[in-house]
């Protein structure tokens, strides 16, 4: 009989809670047909709250390594868990008035909970095996969630593209991990790092393995030239899922990237650092220029999120205390900014009779006057994308550029600046469209179903974005505490 590894159940309680919640929900739904919406909201939000409760309870504790050392629960893991669960809760709030929630809410919510569990696993992985398990858990769930707008061809098409390209990324990642295993004899990040530090790192196998792992991860974070899926998937997916992906998937993928590069592959920094620098420059410029010519706001923000991923790469390239703290703060606040922006778009789509593909600049004209709160919130989110004070986006940009200029990466900071200037141009197009006076607006639109839930979701995102900009001390402390668990924090 094979002895299983010892498991610290409290350390993995958030994931356990999510998985148990998902199955309870599916079972309960089988007995309570017709109450899909209430059931998914109550059980879904309840599970998420329990999960966050476990994470918050463990916040600040010494790191715990469990599951045969393949899973580490430190404050970075907790921060990702909490952020992801909060975003999932916002997804549910935003879905209140969505007819699909009434039809198949239990499946939707269960998949969402499983996505969160997978993301938690990825965030705490210290081994390629756990990483792959978590990655597939959340990716498979997301493929279905993207396709959940069943009647829309765009949604199905987006899901298929995501499935094919996402799987390709996973395969490349696994292939690379296999090469690294061949070179070092370990799937564990620390084992790989120790072996690489001892042996020469010039071997072709190590280079090949590093390159493939890097490509696989860059697929997941969605930076150029591995970004092709991002605009299509973001545009086609149900908008609340788009927001979730822009926030949560990006955060998780970046944490995985940072852990692998800084924990497992610090010895070959000379291999990956130049690649990342080129990728960051190309992505920041390319993503923003592509966004500049979009007329569909959903797609525009998808492109801008590509550019933002390039910007976050600067934090990893620079690393060090300031760079990593900036990275974590930037990504965590970006998650809420992006979700908020997509939540506003979701509300707009619901205001229109046709639900899909309608959030064009032209269609949004003067809508800001009809929905003053959502319109103003959108302005704040767009300014946060552009990194303007007094939003959290400014602080994130400020810390990352500060890290870059003080660590001899001035040119990266300058590229970031150029990206911001381009960004401002298209964000302003949206703002001007929202408040175009030349078109008559229908003041006092009727309340759409789920307006309250959507407004609450937008309000919560707005609070995070503004508090993160006006009183950023606490958030920066949390980010610093979480970032300190990335090994190479100089």
């Amino acid at each position: 009989m094979i002895q299983g590894p010892s498991v610290d159940w409290f350390a993995i309680a958030p994931e356990v809670a999510l998985i148990v919640g998902a199955f309870v929900l599916l079972l309960a739904a089988a007995f309570a047909r017709g109450h899909e919406r209430a059931l998914s909201l109550i059980l879904g939000l309840g599970t998420l709250i329990v999960s966050v409760g476990f994470s918050v309870a463990a916040w600040g504790d010494a790191p715990v390594v469990t599951m045969a050392d393949a899973f580490r629960v430190d404050d970075l893991t907790e921060l990702v868990r909490i952020t992801v669960a909060a975003l999932a809760a916002l997804v549910l709030l935003l879905s209140v008035g969505w007819n699909r929630l009434r039809e198949q809410g239990s499946e939707f919510t269960a998949l969402l909970l499983l996505t969160c569990a997978g993301m938690g696993v990825v965030a705490g992985s210290t081994s390629f095996v756990t990483l792959f398990v978590g990655l597939e858990l959340f990716s498979l769930s997301l493929y279905v969630l993207v396709a959940f707008d069943g009647k829309s061809r765009a949604s199905l098409e987006a899901s298929f593209k995501y499935l094919v390209l996402g799987t390709l990324g996973s395969i490349v990642l696994v292939y690379g991990a296999a090469f690294l295993y061949g070179a070092t004899g370990s799937f564990m990040y620390d084992g790989i790092a120790a072996s690489l530090a001892e042996g020469g790192s010039g071997e072709a196998v190590v280079t090949l393995g590093t390159a493939l792992v890097l490509v696989g991860l860059l697929f997941k974070v969605g930076v150029m030239p591995f970004h092709m899926w991002v605009p299509d998937v973001y545009e086609g997916a149900p908008t609340q899922i788009t927001g979730f992906m822009a926030g949560a998937t990006k955060l998780v993928a970046f944490v995985a990237l940072a852990r692998i590069l800084l924990d497992a592959l610090p010895a070959v920094e000379h291999l990956w650092s130049p690649v990342l620098i080129i990728v960051a420059i190309v992505t920041i410029i390319g993503g923003n220029i592509a966004a500049l010519v979009q007329t569909n706001v959903k797609r525009m923000i998808a492109w801008s999120s590509v550019g933002a991923a390039g910007y976050a790469l600067i934090g990893i390239i620079v690393h060090g205390d300031l760079g990593l703290r900036g990275l974590v703060f930037y990504l965590a606040t970006y998650a809420f900014t992006a979700f908020g922006a997509f939540a506003v778009i979701a509300l707009f789509e619901r205001d229109q009779s046709r639900a899909k593909g309608y959030a064009t600049l032209d269609g949004m004209r003067a809508w800001g006057f009809s929905r003053p709160f959502a319109g103003m919130a959108m302005v704040v989110f767009l300014l946060a994308f552009a990194g303007f004070p007094p939003t959290a986006g400014f602080i994130g940009k400020f810390v990352i550029s500060g890290a870059a200029v003080t660590n001899d990466y001035v040119y990266l900071a300058v590229v970031g600046v150029i990206g911001s200037v381009i960004g401002l141009a298209y964000y302003l197009r949206v703002i001007v469209a929202l408040y175009d006076r030349s078109r008559k607006s229908d003041v006092g639109l009727p309340a759409t179903p789920g307006l309250g839930g959507a407004s609450l979701a937008i309000l919560l995102c707005l609070a995070v974005v503004l508090l993160g900009g006006i009183l950023p001390s606490l958030g920066l402390d949390w980010a610093g505490q979480a970032a300190s668990f990335l090994t190479v924090a100089k």
């Binding site: 004070p389 550029s401 911001s420 302003l428 920066l476 402390d477």
Partner: protein, 486 residues
């Protein structure tokens, strides 16, 4: 005790309320006007209580972002006080003019003007680099939205130009500030006082570029004409009256004291650019065929002249530059309001269609003449006093610089005289004949009058101004002057 933080918070909070709550046109206008007058009242209190030799006053210094060493550190010295005064005055006049002109969606436009005021006061009172930057970059957004949403026909191109120029410069300044703050000995620290002399040439260059664009100095003045021409008159008044002064102020109060060695070494660059801009702007102003373009180019010329004054690096130049900033703010804000009023009344700002307006319009003629006389610096006017100070400094610097400056001042007289004669005198323009615009009356006059009265007051008692400002202005350039061996 009211500190300057209140003058920032009150308009900012009022702006948010105006944006979020469904105010009617009348209510929004009166609330905005009341807030701007309250700020002006606070400023008058400051002027009354101000101690010229007391250094920074009415300030606050509390921790803001502790882990980054950023503090909410604001204070008012003589130069700041001058700038905050014109900000409060011009904002109130601009809001008054907006009420009179009746903008649609007026509550949003008033909110954005108030927001601009808050950010501007932040710039003028900042003693921490991040606070300064937040104000400097923050004001860009409301001004851009005002231009993009309420601007004239060519507003789209104007917006793109403003973004391309000013946003780029401002963001480069952010990198300079990040470098200064994060490399401070003993952990990150963004206090201006602690950053003195720590920057290298590159940091200086990035910082200076932002200010050169903002001011603007030749050859980065491309964005100014479209922005000033396409904005609505009250926004153009704020833009040219105060927002452009943020650049000039920052040269004097931030760049020169923070980088004394570089300021002394590269002073000749700014003096050269300032001289070129002064002459070139005046020449272009002379060639324009409509009122707003004349004022826009004259603004470029005047800002160049002011920055030239700053980089003379002596007491007279600095005090003269501050005085000239105030004078020019009053003149250009009033002229933009007047030119905008003319355009709405006569249907065009082009000299082709105007002319002969002085006939049977005594109030308009008087106001325009007073402003024109002030702008061309007739002896006895406050502009004469400030230009004379700068000219003295220039002669002190070298005889040829003084001579060039004197020629430039003559140019200024030429384009202003041309404007006066084209609008007020000469043959009656076709639009003047057909539309028969009324004389300046009540509403519009009430918005112009405070600016004109301030000009007259400063002309009568310029010492009231220079006594308050001289000590601070001299202190700001003293270490750079020492570096320059003066």
């Amino acid at each position: 005790m009211i500190t300057v933080s209140w003058l920032i918070a009150v308009p900012a909070v009022a702006a948010v309320l105006l944006l979020l709550l469904p105010f009617g046109r009348q209510a929004a206008g009166y609330l905005a006007l009341l807030v701007s007058l309250a700020v002006a009242g606070g400023v008058i209190g400051f002027i009354y209580r101000f101690e010229p030799l007391g250094g920074d006053q009415f300030g606050d210094n509390i921790a803001w972002i502790e882990s980054l060493g950023v503090r909410w550190h604001v204070g008012v010295n003589g130069v700041s006080l001058a700038m905050i005064s014109i900000t409060a005055l011009i904002t109130a006049c601009a809001i008054g003019y907006g009420m009179w002109a009746g903008r649609d969606r007026s509550h949003a436009s008033f909110a954005l003007i108030l927001l601009t005021e808050a950010f501007l006061i932040m710039v003028f009172s900042a003693r921490d680099l991040v606070v300064f930057y937040v104000g400097f970059e923050g004001m860009l957004i409301p001004l851009l939205v005002l231009l993009a949403a309420w601007g004239g026909a060519g507003r789209k191109a104007a917006v793109v130009q403003v973004i391309a120029y000013t946003a780029l410069g401002t963001l480069l300044m952010l990198l300079a500030i990040a470098y200064l703050g994060f490399t401070a000995p003993g952990g990150p620290n963004f206090s201006m006082a602690d950053a003195v002399g720590r920057g290298n040439d590159w940091v200086f260059a990035a910082f200076a570029l932002a200010l050169v664009i903002k001011s603007p100095l030749f050859p980065f003045h491309g964005w100014v004409l479209p922005a000033y021409r396409e904005s609505s008159p009250e926004v153009a008044a704020v833009l040219s009256g105060v927002a452009s002064k943020a650049g000039g102020f920052a040269f004097l109060a931030v760049l020169v004291p923070l980088f004394p060695a570089q300021a002394a070494t590269y002073a000749w660059v700014f003096i050269a650019l300032g001289t070129i801009g002064f002459l070139y702007g005046a020449f272009l102003a002379f060639r324009q065929s409509d009122g707003r373009s004349v004022i826009a180019y004259s603004s470029i010329a005047q800002m160049s002249f002011i920055i030239l004054g700053v980089f003379l690096l002596d007491s007279r130049g600095a005090t003269g530059a501050t005085f000239q900033m105030v004078n020019h703010a009053l003149v250009s804000a009033a002229l933009f309001l007047l030119a905008g009023w003319l355009e709405t009344q006569a249907g065009s700002g082009s000299f082709k269609h105007l002319g002969g307006l002085a006939r049977s319009r005594p109030v308009l003629a008087t106001v325009a003449l007073i402003l024109g006389m002030a702008a061309l610096a007739v002896p006895g006017s406050s502009v004469f006093a400030s230009e004379f100070l700068i000219m003295l400094g220039a002669f002190e610097h070298s005889w040829w610089l003084g001579s060039i400056v004197a020629i430039g001042i003559v140019f200024a007289a030429m384009y202003m005289l041309r404007w006066i004669s084209a609008v007020l005198h000469e043959r009656e323009g076709d639009l003047v004949g057909s539309l028969n615009p009324p004389d300046l009356r009540r509403g519009a006059l009430l918005c112009l009058l405070p600016l004109v009265l301030c000009l007259i007051g400063l002309s009568i008692a310029p010492a009231q101004f220079t006594d308050r400002v001289d000590a601070a202005a001299t202190a700001l350039v003293s270490s750079a002057a020492k570096e320059a061996g003066r």
